[in-house]
Subunit: 120 residues, 2 copies
């Protein structure tokens, strides 16, 4: 049991939309993600996703509304709900979700689907 | 699906060691806790606990070492591991753990055992 320093971990990578696992608990993983631009519309049929903005401004877009989040703001996307994430400028995001979840959910995207369980 | 603003939520309470649930996902809860002083030694026999320091300095003490955490630092306490949390000055903590978990685990403490599932 040792400390994981999120600022140090964020400094180790620069790619966007590629989740990095920094901790695990109860079958869930805490992932760090740098984001910029627009992610594909998708859903996760059996998993909720909890997002917490660490730095910058981040949007979670649903079919009927958009949630805009700044540092220290949280949103939960329930299982099965279609959504798209986006950021006009680079932002740093924490994501808490089940181990091994594919970032693009029901969609396979050559650019955006990322390897799961990449640790940093 | 709406934003939860952690700074606004932390401003709503001042009691120490009384977890407040602000979000839930996949059977887990995100709790806010203000801490100061020393919490009783305890363990959770079937649940890991993930702590993330939002503000201040926080210690998680194990029998053989102490983990000192500042803002943006994370530690996971695995199920069954005896530990004590502490802070010399008030700190603000996020905790991810299974829904309904008693804060004092295997211990019942008249002062520190807090109601579960208190939302804010």
């Amino acid at each position: 049991m040792e400390a994981v320093r999120l600022e140090e971990k964020f400094a180790l990578f620069s790619d966007h939309w590629r989740p990095k696992v920094v901790a695990a608990a109860n079958g869930q993983e805490l992932k760090l993600i740098k984001v910029r631009g627009e992610f594909p519309w998708h859903h996760h049929h059996d998993a909720d996703e909890l997002f917490l903005v660490w730095k910058g401004t981040f949007r979670v877009e649903f079919k009927d509304h958009i949630v805009t989040l700044g540092r220290g703001d949280v949103v939960v996307v329930p299982a099965g709900v279609l959504h798209r994430t986006a950021a006009d400028e680079e932002a740093e995001i924490l994501c808490f979700e089940p181990k091994g979840l594919l970032n693009t959910g029901n969609v396979t995207d050559a650019e955006f689907s990322a390897p799961t369980d990449v640790k940093i």
